[in-house]
C-alpha cells in the first residue's frame, strides 16, 4: 500500500503505516468501531461524501480501502475533528486513519483542483499559499508606530518567538490582526521577536490534505530556522500552526513550548483588564476554531477575553464549543471553495454565518486567521455584510485599549 507513514505527536511510538495499522494500538482501536455512524452524522460534509468516516473504517476492515483511494470523496474532509470529538468509542480517526488514507487519495487524484494546485505550488515555492513574495513577509511591520524585532537582524535571545503565519503576514485583514497582536504584546511589555522573511508556512493544511512531502519539507525548513535562535517559547497567531507544532512537529524533534495568541493573552487577563478602558457596544458571538477548540480544548479562554471587554455582550450560537460548525477552511478546504461550489456543496462558511446572524450579534469573533476572510466573504455573499462584522479576538482587545 505504498509508503504512507504516520509519525504522530509521540516520537517514541513506532511508525504506523497502512500496512501495519491494524497491528498497532491505534489500529486496534479502529476495530472497536461499532459503526454507529455518529462520525458521518456530525461531519459537516458527511451527507455528500461517498466515503464518510464510518464507511472508511468498514472498508478498512473489509480490506477494500483501494476503493477509497480512488475516490475524490475525502477532498470534502475539512479536517474539523468533529468525527473524532463525537466518537463514542474515542477512536482517534483524524490522528491515525484519515491522514494515511488521505495521503493515498491525494497520490491517486487524477487531477488536482486548480485553486488547490496553485496553493500547494505556491506554498512550496514561496512559503505561503497566496504567491506573495517571501521577501515581503515582514513588510507589514513598517505600518506600526513602534519597531518589531526581527531575529535575522537582531539575533539576541528573546522570550517569545511570535510565529505570525501566512494569512496574518500577507492578507490585508490578517495584517490588521497582526497589528492588534503586536500592540497587545507591546502593551504587556512582552519581550518578543519574529522570524520575518525567514518564516515559512507551518504546513499543517498540506499534511491534513495528504501532501505529506510538502509538510515534511516545510517542517525541515522551519525546524532548521528555529534552531538558529534562542527563545523561551513560541506564540503563534495561526491555529493551524499551533496544531502542527503541538501534534505534528514533535515527530521531527520539536520540543519548544508553544502557545496560540488567544489563550496566551487570556493568561495575561489580569494585566490586560486595567487597560481595557474603552466601552465597545457590541453584541458578540464567538466562533470556536476547530484546531483551537475541538482539537485542543481552548473553549473558555477566548470567551473570558471577550467578556473582559467593557460593553461586550456575549451571545452563543446553537452550535458552539465541541459542536461548532467548521468554517470550511481546514485540510485544504481554504482552496477548494470553487471545487465545492462546482459539486453543488454548500459553503460551510455560509452555513456558519447564517447561524451567527440568527443570534442577533453584530460581531462574529474569531481566533483563526482563515476565518476572517472566509466569514467576511460569506457575509457579503449572503447580503449580511451590514448586519455583522468579523473581528479577531485580538482586534477587539486592541480596540478596547484605544482611548
Amino acid at each position: 500500500m505504498g509508503g504512507a507513514t504516520l509519525t504522530g505527536g509521540n516520537p517514541s511510538s513506532p511508525e504506523v503505516t497502512l500496512d501495519n495499522l491494524l497491528q498497532s494500538p491505534q489500529g486496534r482501536d479502529l476495530l472497536t468501531c461499532i459503526q454507529c455512524g455518529l462520525c458521518a452524522g456530525t461531519c459537516p460534509y458527511g451527507d455528500v461524501m461517498a466515503y464518510p468516516p464510518r464507511r472508511i473504517i468498514a472498508m478498512l476492515r473489509a480490506g477494500m480501502l483501494e476503493g477509497v483511494f480512488k475516490s475524490e470523496s475525502l477532498l470534502a474532509c475539512v479536517a474539523c475533528y468533529s468525527c473524532m470529538a463525537k466518537c463514542p468509542r474515542n477512536i482517534q480517526l483524524t490522528e491515525v486513519l484519515l491522514p494515511l488514507v488521505k495521503e493515498q487519495v491525494f497520490l491517486n487524484l487524477a487531477e488536482l483542483p486548480a485553486e488547490l494546485h496553485k496553493a500547494l505550488d505556491n506554498t512550496l515555492r514561496y512559503g505561503n499559499p497566496m504567491a506573495e513574495s517571501p521577501r515581503k513577509r515582514a513588510a507589514w511591520i513598517k505600518t506600526l508606530d513602534f519597531p518589531i524585532r526581527v531575529l535575522a537582524e537582531d539575533p539576541r535571545p528573546v522570550d517569545v518567538l511570535w510565529f505570525v503565519e501566512c494569512q496574518n503576514s500577507y492578507h490585508p485583514r490578517g495584517q490588521d490582526v497582526s497589528r492588534a497582536t503586536a500592540k497587545l504584546f507591546h502593551a504587556l511589555g512582552i519581550d518578543f521577536a519574529i522570524l520575518g522573511n525567514e518564516e515559512k508556512c507551518a504546513g499543517e493544511c498540506a499534511r491534513l490534505l495528504g501532501e505529506k512531502g510538502l509538510f515534511d519539507t516545510l517542517t525541515d525548513y522551519n525546524m532548521a530556522v528555529f534552531s538558529k535562535y534562542h527563545f523561551n517559547r513560541i506564540v503563534t497567531s495561526g491555529t493551524h500552526a499551533y496544531d502542527a507544532f503541538t501534534h505534528r512537529y514533535p515527530a521531527a524533534g520539536f520540543r519548544y513550548q508553544v502557545e496560540h495568541t488567544t489563550p496566551f493573552f487570556a493568561a495575561y487577563l489580569e494585566q490586560l483588564k486595567p487597560r481595557l478602558n474603552r466601552t465597545l457596544h457590541y453584541a458578540v458571538t464567538y466562533h470556536d476554531s476547530c484546531c483551537l477548540g475541538r482539537h485542543n480544548g481552548f473553549y473558555e479562554q477566548p470567551r473570558l477575553l471577550l467578556q473582559a471587554i467593557p460593553g461586550v455582550k456575549l451571545l452563543e450560537m446553537p452550535h458552539n464549543r465541541i459542536s461548532a460548525i467548521c468554517c470550511g477552511g481546514g485540510g485544504g478546504g481554504m482552496w477548494l471553495d470553487t471545487y465545492y461550489k462546482a459539486k453543488g456543496y454548500e459553503r460551510l462558511s455560509e452555513r456558519r454565518v447564517k447561524e451567527a446572524v440568527t443570534t442577533g450579534a453584530d460581531v462574529i469573533a474569531v481566533s483563526c486567521p482563515y476565518e476572517i476572510s472566509r466569514f467576511e466573504d460569506a457575509l457579503k455573499v449572503l447580503g449580511h455584510e451590514k448586519k455583522m462584522i468579523v473581528r479577531d479576538v485580538t482586534e477587539l482587545l486592541s480596540e478596547a485599549m484605544e482611548v
Partner: protein
C-alpha cells in the same frame, strides 16, 4: 517516437524586478527564476502524448538558478530524461539560446532525430514567441506556433495540430514529422506532482549535463537593448465621490465627454 521539450527559466514576477547597473538588463542576482508557464504546458502536452501513444520525453534546459528543481519535477511527472546545458553566459537572448540549444540537439546522442520538438509558444522574456521558430530554422524543421492541441501519428510520420483563432475559429493542421511546435496550452492543465515524489526522484535519478564548448559570437543577436527602465506612472485614477446617483451622473458625463456614450 522521441519527444523533446525545451524548458526555459524566466524571471519570477512575484518578486520585484530590478534593473542592473548597466541600465540595459535585469539584475539577475536579485531576480528569482521560475519555469516559463507555457513551457510547463509544452511538457504536459509531451507527457499526455507519451501516455497516449508511447515514446520517450526528454526535458532540456539551459543552466539557470533553480533549474535543477524544475528538471527533477519533470522527471517526477514522467519525463524519461532530463538534460541541462551548462556553460552559457547569464542572460542569453532568445536567438542565442535557440542557437545553443539547436547545437546541442544536433550533436547530443539521443536528441538528434527527435520526432517532436516542443516548447512554450511565448515566454515573458520572449513575447514575440521566437524560440520555437528559431529552433525550427536552426534544425531545418517545419514549425507551427500557438498550438492548443497536438495528436501525432508516429507511424504515418504526421501530427494533427490545433490552433485557435479569434471569434471561436479553430484550425487543424497536418504537419509532417519531425517538426517543432510552440505550445500555447496543453489539452489539460499541467499536472501536480507531489513533493514526496520529487524528493524521491532527486535521490534516485540524475540530470544529464552537456557542457557548452562553443561560444556565441558577439552581435549574434542582431538586436541590441539600449535602455531598460521601470514603468513610469503617466496618469492617475480619478475617484468619484458622493451618492450612487451623483457618481453615476458624473461617470456618464465623463463617458459622454470622451465620446464613449
Amino acid at each position: 517516437m522521441n519527444i523533446l521539450v525545451v524548458l526555459r527559466m524566466v524571471p519570477d514576477v512575484v518578486e520585484e524586478l530590478e534593473i542592473a547597473p548597466d541600465g540595459k538588463s535585469l539584475n539577475l542576482e536579485f531576480a528569482r527564476m521560475v519555469l516559463s508557464e507555457s513551457d510547463d504546458h509544452a511538457l504536459e502536452q509531451a507527457l499526455l502524448i507519451k501516455e497516449r501513444d508511447g515514446g520517450t520525453v526528454t526535458a532540456l534546459a539551459l543552466e539557470a538558478p533553480e533549474v535543477d528543481e524544475v528538471l527533477f519535477a519533470a522527471l517526477a511527472k514522467g519525463a524519461d530524461r532530463a538534460l541541462k546545458i551548462t556553460g552559457p553566459k547569464e542572460g542569453v537572448t532568445t536567438r542565442e539560446a535557440a542557437h545553443i540549444i539547436a547545437g546541442v540537439i544536433s550533436s547530443e546522442p539521443g536528441l538528434k532525430g527527435a520526432d517532436l520538438v516542443l516548447t512554450g509558444t511565448q515566454a515573458i522574456n520572449d513575447l514575440d514567441g521566437l524560440m520555437a521558430p528559431l529552433l525550427a530554422q536552426e534544425l531545418g524543421l517545419p514549425f507551427l506556433g500557438i498550438v492548443t492541441g497536438l495528436v501525432p501519428n508516429f507511424s504515418a510520420r504526421v501530427a494533427l495540430a490545433t490552433k485557435e483563432y479569434p471569434r471561436g475559429v479553430r484550425g487543424e493542421f497536418e504537419v509532417a514529422l519531425p517538426a517543432t511546435f510552440g505550445i500555447q496550452a496543453a489539452e489539460k492543465p499541467p499536472r501536480y506532482v507531489p513533493v514526496a515524489k520529487v524528493r524521491a526522484v532527486m535521490k534516485s535519478r540524475k540530470i544529464d549535463c552537456v557542457s557548452l564548448t562553443e561560444t556565441v559570437e558577439p552581435g549574434f543577436s542582431l538586436l541590441q537593448v539600449l535602455e531598460m527602465t521601470k514603468p513610469q506612472p503617466s496618469g492617475h485614477a480619478e475617484i468619484l465621490e458622493g451618492s450612487a446617483d451623483q457618481t453615476a451622473g458624473a461617470l456618464c458625463t465623463i463617458l459622454a465627454e470622451r465620446g464613449l456614450l
